[in-house]
């Protein structure tokens, strides 16, 4: 008896989808393509030589899809999302937003950065109003829209606060509201919760899903936290480093709506196992190129052991 209970249960394949999940993906892929990336490449050249940060990246996302990009650090995730935002230029291939090539940044692509980039001289409300105002909205219209956004993110009590008075999680919520206020077609997020503590991060994830459900926006989200990726994503784009390339585009078999209890469900664990397999095997190769960690010399008396 005991043996049967304790035996590790064989996980299903991450490719197995319940009919409901398969149905969802069917509907998702029937929606129009919002973003199309075609053979994208980026080479940095400096005096030390050239670095191929991205090579032949191709994928597409559909309207209202939640796409998460994962990969080891240095695989070009930030480079990719900056090109999508128009903050950097690719050296090959192209990015099409609703069929039109992307050239430079614009209000049709909102961005939330890992670092805090709220304007410190503006109150929370004015920060959210910023995008509306520079795009020609009148003050009163911008103000009423900003207040609605602040209500949506649950910060209506902090409208007159300055960013330095907010916690990290609150700052990122305002940053999300600010990016969404101009009603972009796509919201780009580069490790937006990377600097937050585990608890806050968990709440922010639930919050983001809630916002995403309510509005018509496609999200491209970068993280290196695999749990976060599976919890949030419709599909996960797995990248590998040196050079940055697409390894696989995984359809997450975990049903929606998501909640943290699913972290131990079979489909969740199967997906995570697959991600770990890809990222850590690729990571192992990458690490050989880098220097091995030096052994730390012993600095305590012999016999004074903690383990």
């Amino acid at each position: 008896m005991d043996q049967i209970v304790n035996a590790p249960k064989a996980l299903p394949s991450y490719l197995d989808q319940t009919p409901a999940v398969r149905d969802r993906f069917g509907r998702l892929k029937n929606r129009e393509v919002i973003l199309r990336v075609d053979g994208l490449g980026k080479t940095f050249s400096s005096r030390q030589g050239t670095t191929v940060a991205l090579r032949n990246i191709s994928f597409q996302t559909h309207r209202r899809e939640f796409l998460v990009i994962v990969g080891p650090s240095g695989c070009g995730k930030s480079t990719l999302i900056r090109i999508l935002a128009g903050l950097d230029m690719q050296t090959g291939g192209q990015v099409l937003l609703e069929g039109k090539p992307v050239a430079g940044p614009g209000r049709d692509r909102g961005m939330v950065f890992q670092g805090y980039t709220l304007f410190p001289w503006l109150t929370v409300k004015k920060n959210v109003m910023f995008g509306l105002e520079v795009n020609g909205a009148g003050t009163s219209q911008a103000e009423s829209e900003a207040l609605q956004w602040l209500q949506l993110i649950g910060l209506e009590k902090f409208t007159e606060a300055y960013p330095h008075q907010l916690s990290g999680g609150m700052k990122q919520r305002v940053a999300i509201a600010r990016a969404l206020a101009t009603q972009p077609r796509i919201l780009l997020m580069d490790e937006p919760f990377g600097a937050l503590d585990a608890q806050t991060r968990c709440r922010m994830q639930a919050h983001l899903l809630e916002i995403w459900r309510k509005i018509d926006v496609t999200i491209v989200f970068i993280t290196h936290d695999l749990d976060e990726a599976i919890y949030l994503a419709d599909r996960i784009l797995v990248m590998k480093a040196h050079p940055g390339e697409v390894q696989e585009l995984i359809e997450v078999p975990v049903p929606r709506p998501r909640d943290p209890d699913q972290f131990i469900s079979d489909s969740f664990l199967a997906t995570k196992a697959r991600l770990e397999e890809m990222i850590y095997s690729a990571h192992g190769e990458a690490e050989e190129e880098e220097e091995a960690y030096p052994m730390v010399a012993r600095l305590t008396a012999v016999g004074d052991d903690v383990e």
Partner: protein, 313 residues
């Protein structure tokens, strides 16, 4: 390794930083055994060239004293004194007080505060003209690479030319009154100002600009809505420092053409050996400079409530 101090500790230390030099000055002035290299003659005795009120070196006094004593003549008397150029604190304080309350000895001479007011006007004009050009140009240099490359190399060169060297030229062009003085302050301030403001502008967190770009901000709006408000607290701090520099050019500027303002007052008083007045005037410049800066600092905290509390200058 700067330890954080409590605000009370800071205040006490701040007061002491003034009290300590004052104590040293008092010690040198009032303790006869500290320094006092001269004797102030109170009675000339039979020494023919001594007069009451005259200061002579101690060695001179002693040899004359011995000479008079051995010759059986009346000996001179005196008290240890410091040289006339080092008045005691109370003399300076009295001079400070009387400068404001009593009319000057010479009939048509301007009073201390009138001289000073003239100086303040010169400073203000110079600084305003310099800022009107230097701040916008500096911001443009910091924000637009082409403007920077076009103007900064020349400005770098020009700032090494000492402003007072342009004195004679300024007089030839602008006459002998206030024109050349203002010009010297402008020349002394402007070129540093452009470079400092440009640097401050370049230090603006680029992520803020990128955030604004992704929100659809362009060109002029990027400048007026992100760059300028973003650097404002630092720009304000720069201006405070630059205003301090403008004061340091004042004395040189006022010597150009017809001497005027506080410099005229100081040179006049020094000529008549009214050293307490000289010190009073010099200290007044310091008090005004520090006072303005403290007022501006307090105003800055009011104006920029979002400014990081740690970075307050």
């Amino acid at each position: 390794m700067l330890k954080q101090l409590s605000s009370r500790e800071k205040r006490v230390l701040g007061i002491f930083s003034f009290v300590l030099p004052l104590l040293i000055w008092c010690a040198v002035s009032y303790l006869p055994f500290v320094w006092h290299p001269q004797m102030l003659i109170t009675e000339a005795g039979d020494v023919d060239y001594f007069q009451p009120g005259m200061r002579v070196g101690r060695d001179v006094f002693e040899s004359e004293y011995e000479a008079a004593k051995s010759a059986g003549k009346a000996v001179p008397a005196g008290v240890p004194a410091n040289p006339i150029y080092l008045p005691a604190p109370d003399q300076v304080f009295t001079a400070f007080y009387t400068a404001f309350t009593m009319p000057p000895e010479a009939r048509d001479a301007p009073r201390l505060h009138q001289s000073l007011w003239h100086s303040v006007q010169v400073i203000f004009c110079g600084f305003a003209i310099s800022s009107a050009i230097g701040v916008p140009l500096g911001i443009l240099c910091g924000a637009v690479a082409r403007v920077s490359r076009l103007s900064e190399p020349f400005i770098e060169f020009f700032r090494y030319l000492p402003a007072p060297a342009f004195g004679a030229l300024a007089v030839a062009i602008l006459g002998i009154y206030d024109g050349p003085k203002v010009a010297i302050i402008v020349i002394g301030t402007l070129f540093q100002q452009v470079l400092i403001v440009a640097n401050t502008t370049r230090k603006l967190d680029f992520a803020l600009i990128e955030a604004a770009l992704t929100l659809g901000t362009r060109n002029a709006k990027l400048l007026s809505r992100v760059v300028i408000p973003g650097i404002l607290p630092d720009l304000y701090r720069d201006q405070r420092i630059l205003l301090g520099w403008a004061w340091t050019y004042l004395i040189v500027a006022e010597l150009i053409g017809t001497t005027s303002g506080i410099t005229w007052f100081i040179t006049q008083q020094a000529r008549y050996q009214h050293f307490p007045n000289v010190y009073a005037a010099i200290f007044l410049i310091g008090i005004i400079g520090l006072g303005t800066d403290m007022v501006l600092a307090a105003l800055g905290r009011r104006l920029f409530p979002w400014d990081r509390p740690t970075a307050k200058g």
